[in-house]
Amino acid sequence: MISTLTQNSITRRSFVKVSAALTAAAGVLGRIKPASAAEWRDQLGSRGTKPDPISEDVRIVRSVCLMCHGGCGLQAKIKGGELIKLDGNPFHPNCYDYSAKGDLAAESDLDGGPAGKDVASLCPKGNAGVFALYNPARLTHPLKRVGPRGSGQWKKISWEEAMEEILNGGRLFKDVPGEEKRHVDGLNKILNDNSPLGPEDSAYMDEAPPAGWGPKRNQFVWMHGRNEQSPLTPRFVKEVCGVPHMLNHCARCAGTFYNVIEDVLNLPPYEIGAYADLPFTSYLISIGSNITAADYPMQLRTRKLQKWAKRLGPYAKEFKHVVVDPWLSSGAAKATHNGKGEWIPIKPAADAFFLVGMIRWIIDNEKFNREYLRLPNEKSAKAAGRRNWTDMTYLVKQTEPKTYLTAAEAGLPVQADYVVMAGGSPTAFHEAEGPADLDASVTIKGIPCKTVFRMLKERAREKTLEECDRLCDIPKGTIARLSREFTSAKTPVIEMFRGPVQQTNGWWNGQALCIINMLVDNIDRRGGFSPGHAAYKGKVGGTLRKPEGVPVDCAKKYEGKKPVPTRPWYPLARRTVTPNFLSNLKHGYPYKIKAILNYYNDPAYTMPYNAPVIENLKNTDLVPLLFSIDAYMGETSSLADYILPDTEYLERFGGFKTYPPVNTQVWGLRQPVVGELDPKTHEYRGVHPDARMADDVLIEIGIRCGLPGFGKNGGGDGIDLMNSWDYWNEYYKHEDFKDGLDPNSDFVKMGGKFENPTKEYDGEYCRFPGGRPVRALFAYQQKVATTKNCMTGSFFDGLPTYRGIFDCTEQPLDPKLWAEYPFALHTHKDAWHTQSRTAQNLWLMSIQPQNFAEINPAEAVKLGVVTGDWVRVKSPSSIPVKEYANSLGDGWYKFQVRVTSRVRPGVFSVSQSYGRWGAGARMWYVNGKPQYQDDRIGAGFHINPLYMADPVLKDRILMDPVAGGTQSYGTPLRVERL
C-alpha cells in the first residue's frame, strides 16, 4: 500500500492509510432482499472507498493536460481545495465533438459544469493525473548532492542557498571527496561573460567559423525534454540569457518527422507535422504509427478513427486500414478485428523499400494523378481548383551541385528559380500557360537536365518490387497489391509517425511517404494528408538579447578551416541534435561548457545508447555545474548537483496548442487547479509549498543575474515580469488574446480559446485558419542535394533513397554483423505510458505491472525458451551500465521473455517507459534518511543501453545526417538463453 502523503497536503484520497476498525460483524445470514434505489449511500455503507460527490460546492477549473504532449484540455473538479477528478475539457476539440453557435465556442454551447451532461474524455494518462498531483514520489524541497554525482545522497537546502550557490558558484562541493578544491563558476559569471570563446575553451579553434565560436556565455547550456512553457522558456534561453542552444529532445523523439514535412510540404516551421484527415479517409496506411495508443493527439486520433472513419463517416462502409509495423499494435488489432484491414509485419528499418517500392508501382502503373503533377505554378493550380502544386515538372541539373535549372541558366530572358518544358520548349515555370511535361530528360545550353518526376522514376526503378518485398520480409506481391488498393481508393492516405523517420535513412523515408501522398493528390485535402495547425498567439515585449555564435550541438553549417570536422555537423536540422551534444561533451567539442540546466528532461534514461550520456553527465570536468528543474528524482536529475523541485502540470500557468488532426484554431490555457495565488503579488504555491513553478525560478535567475527581459520593466516600460502570473497575464493581453488572466473572462472560465470545431473544411480541402497561400510542394529537396555530408565531403541525395541503416559517413552497417547479431531491436509505447514520467504513477503502472522482452514463437523455439524464461542480450556496442539492475557485465543484459505472435520473427521488442531506476525506483537519501521508494516503479526492462552506436563515432547513437533523428528501431542484437 502507498505510504502516507506529505504533511502539507490535505486529501481524502485513499493514499492515506486508514486504520481498519472492524465493526462487529452481523453474523446472521439474513434473507436476501432486493434493495431500493436512491438509498445508495446507505447501501454502500460508510467504510471503503467513496465516490466523488456530485454537489454544488464542487468547483471547476479548466486547464491543459501534460501527461503527454497532445495538449488535451482538461476539466478539474475541486472540492475543499482538493482535486477529486479530471475529465476532458468539453470545449477542447481534442476531447469532445460539439458544434458551437458562433465562430468561437461559448460557455452556453455546452452543459459543461460539475453535474453537466457534456462530459468530455481524457486518455488513461490524463485520468491518472489525479494521482500525479499527489504522487508521494514528488520532490518537495530543493536538494544538493552531498556525495559524488549519482550517489543518491542529498541534503535539503533552502531556495536562497540553492540560488546563491548556482548563481555565484564557488567551492561548492568542498565536502565531497575529490572535489575539495574544485571551483565552480556560477551562472552570474557565465551569463555575463561576453568575451569570445578562445583556445582556453576549445581545442578545435581551426574548426570554428570565421566569426569564432561566439561569446563565453554560450558555455551555459539549456536542455529540455517536455517543455510546454513556451514562449517563456525560449525567451529565457535565447533572449534573456542570449545563448544559441535551446537543446530539446526532438532528435530522439520525432524531430525528423516535423523537419521533413515542413520542407517537402513547404510549411512555416513549428506547425507540427501532418496527419490523415480521418473522418473522410476511405483507405489508410499507417506505417510506424501507433495510432490508437500514441501520437498527437492520441485520444483525438483514436476517436476520429474509431468513431468517424469506421462508423459515422461517409466512407465508413468501405474504410480499410492497413497497419505496417513489426509489432501488432492496438491499431493493427482494430484494423484486423473483423477481417477488413491488414497487419503488414515489416522488418524493422526496411521502411525505405516499402515506401519507395510503392512509388515504383504507382509510377510504373501510371496510377499517379497526372493532371495534378503536371501543374507547374500557382495560376494553373488555382485554375484547376487546387490549393497546391508540385515541383514534379521542374528541371534539375544532372551535374553537381544538382540544383533546379534556373531561367538564367536556361538562357531565358526572365528571372525565375525553376524551368519547365512546356509546349516543347524550356519555359520559366511561372510563365507556363498550361500543364508542363512531366517525364522529360533534355539538354539545355549544354546542361543535362531531368524533371523531378523522371529522376524519381529512375530512382524508384533501382530496385524491383520483388526485391523490395524481400527486403521488407513480407509476402511477395504485397507492395503491389497494397499500392493498387491505395490508388483505387476514393480518399487514400499514407501516414507515419516515428517508425520510418527515426532512422539514419529517416529523412529520406519521410520524404518518400510525403511523395506517395503527392502522387495521389491528397495534400491538404479533406480526407487526405493534412499538415499544420494554427494556434492562437499572444505576445510579451521587452528589450532582449540576441543569441550569437555556434550552438553546442553543431546544428549549423560547418565553416571551419579544417576540411573535415572532427565530429558531425547538422546544418539542415531545424530541431536541435541533442544526442550529438551529449556525446561531443566527452571531446569538449566544439568548445567546453560550464553549466547545464536540465529542465523537465531525462536523457540519461531516454537517449538510445545512453551509457555514454550517463558517463558524460557524471563527469565534473566535462560538466562543471549540472542542475535540474524536475518534479521527481528522475534518472538525469539523480546525477545532478542541485535539483530544484518543479510544480506538477496541474500547478502551472501557461498554455498549449494542438496538432494537425484539428482543423480549427485552438489555444488551451494552462492554469493551476489547486493551490493558492496571492491576490496582490500573484505568487503561487501548490500542494507542496516549497516546490516552485519553473517559470518563477527562471525569472528569478534572470533578475538576479541582471539579465534583460524579466523583472521590473522586463516586458517593456511599466510592464513588470516578476513571476509566472505576470508573464502569462501580459502574454494573454495581445494579438489573439485580450483578457489576460482575468478570472471572469470566458478565456479563463472555458480554459482557452476555441474556434467552432465544425468549421473544418473549405470545399474539398481542410480549412486552415488564417488561410494558407496556394503553394508549391517539393518532392525534390534542393537544400539537401546541395549540402555536403561534412564527414565525407559528398553531397546528400535530394530524393528518397533505398537504404537501411548506415553510419555517419553513409556507409551501410557491415552485413557480417547480422550473422553474430541476428535479432533486430524494436520498441513501442503502450497507451498508458509516456516516455519517462509515468512509471512513478502507480495507477498507470497497475495496468501492466511490468513489461517483457517480446519475441515470436518461431524465435522462442530456436532459443529454447517459453514465456517467463530469461535470456541475455548484447549489441555490437553495448557496455555495462551499473545503474541497470539487469546488467550482467561485458555488455550483456538479462531480460525476461514473453512469447507472442504480436511481434514478427527476428525481432526483440521491449516497450519504453519501464525499467526505471529514478523517480523512486531506487532508494535515495536526504540528510541520510531514506526517501520515498517503491519497487513497482522500477519494474520491467529498458532497452536503451542496447542500441547500437555509430561504428565510426563509437560513442553515440546512429543518427539521420540531415535532421538528426536517432536510429530507434532495427539495430542488431544477439540473444541467448540464460
Binding site: 483514436t302 459515422l312 493493427a332
Partner: protein, 206 residues
C-alpha cells in the same frame, strides 16, 4: 445535451433514466472498437477513489492465432481487448455467496452493491464471482466493486467509464434499449460465460 455524433441520443438516455418499474441498467461494450487503452479503468479509479490494487474495471487482452512465417500473410491473428467491470448479474453469484447478506441487488434498476459496513472481508464473493468484480480493500479489510457509478446514475449522469472512453465504445442504458442498438448494428451480442448461470447484464458485441 449529448456529444455530436453520439450513438445514444440524450432523448433515449433521458427515457432510460425515467423508466418506471423494474428495469436493469447495464453497460454495453462494443469490443470491435475498444483499443485497450484503459482510460475507463483510470477514470473509474479517479471517480471512485480506489487505491492502488483495487480496480473496479480491468481490461484484458486476448490473443488468438499464431504468426510465425513472414512469407505468408499474417491473417490468422486476432487480438482484442475486453474491459471487465461488474456484470451486475441477474442472478449474482456474489449475492448468493455472501454469508452476511452484505450484497444486494437494487429492485428499481438492478445495480448490485456491496455494503462496506456489513462486509466482513471473507472474500467468498470474490471466489464466487466468475468475472473478478469484487476487490479486496486491504486498508478497510472489506470488499468493494463497480457500482455502475450509482452516485452518478442517481442524478441522471453517465458512469465515469462511459464518458471516459476515447473510442466511444462503452454505452450505458436500460438493457432493452441497448439490446435494440446491438441488433441495429447487426452485431452478434456476446455475453461472457453464458454457462456461468449468473445472467450477466453487461453486454458485449464483437
Amino acid at each position: 445535451m449529448a456529444e455530436r455524433g453520439a450513438f445514444i441520443s440524450q432523448e433515449v438516455l433521458d427515457a432510460s433514466f425515467k423508466k418506471r418499474g423494474r428495469k436493469q441498467f447495464a453497460l454495453w461494450i462494443d469490443l470491435e472498437y475498444c483499443v485497450g487503452c484503459n482510460s475507463c479503468s483510470m477514470a473509474c479509479k479517479a471517480e471512485n477513489n480506489t487505491q492502488v490494487g483495487v480496480d473496479y474495471n480491468r481490461v484484458i487482452t486476448v490473443e488468438e492465432g499464431e504468426f510465425t512465417d513472414p512469407s505468408k500473410p499474417a491473417k490468422d491473428m486476432r487480438v482484442y481487448f475486453v474491459p471487465m467491470p461488474c456484470m451486475h448479474c441477474g442472478k449474482p453469484a456474489c449475492v448468493a455467496a455472501c454469508p452476511v447478506g452484505a450484497i444486494t441487488k437494487r429492485e428499481e434498476d438492478g445495480i448490485v452493491l456491496i455494503n462496506g459496513d456489513k462486509c466482513i472481508g471473507c472474500r467468498y464473493c470474490a471466489w464466487a464471482c466468475p468475472y473478478g468484480a469484487p476487490q479486496y480493500n486491504a486498508d478497510t479489510q472489506t470488499m468493494e466493486k463497480c457500482t455502475l457509478c450509482v452516485h452518478r446514475v442517481d442524478k441522471g449522469l453517465l458512469p465515469a467509464c462511459v464518458t471516459a472512453c476515447i473510442a466511444r465504445t462503452r454505452f450505458f442504458g436500460e438493457v432493452n434499449d441497448l439490446t435494440a442498438l446491438i441488433r441495429q448494428k447487426r452485431a452478434k451480442e456476446v455475453k461472457l460465460s453464458i454457462e456461468s448461470g449468473t445472467k450477466p447484464s453487461t453486454m458485449y458485441s464483437m
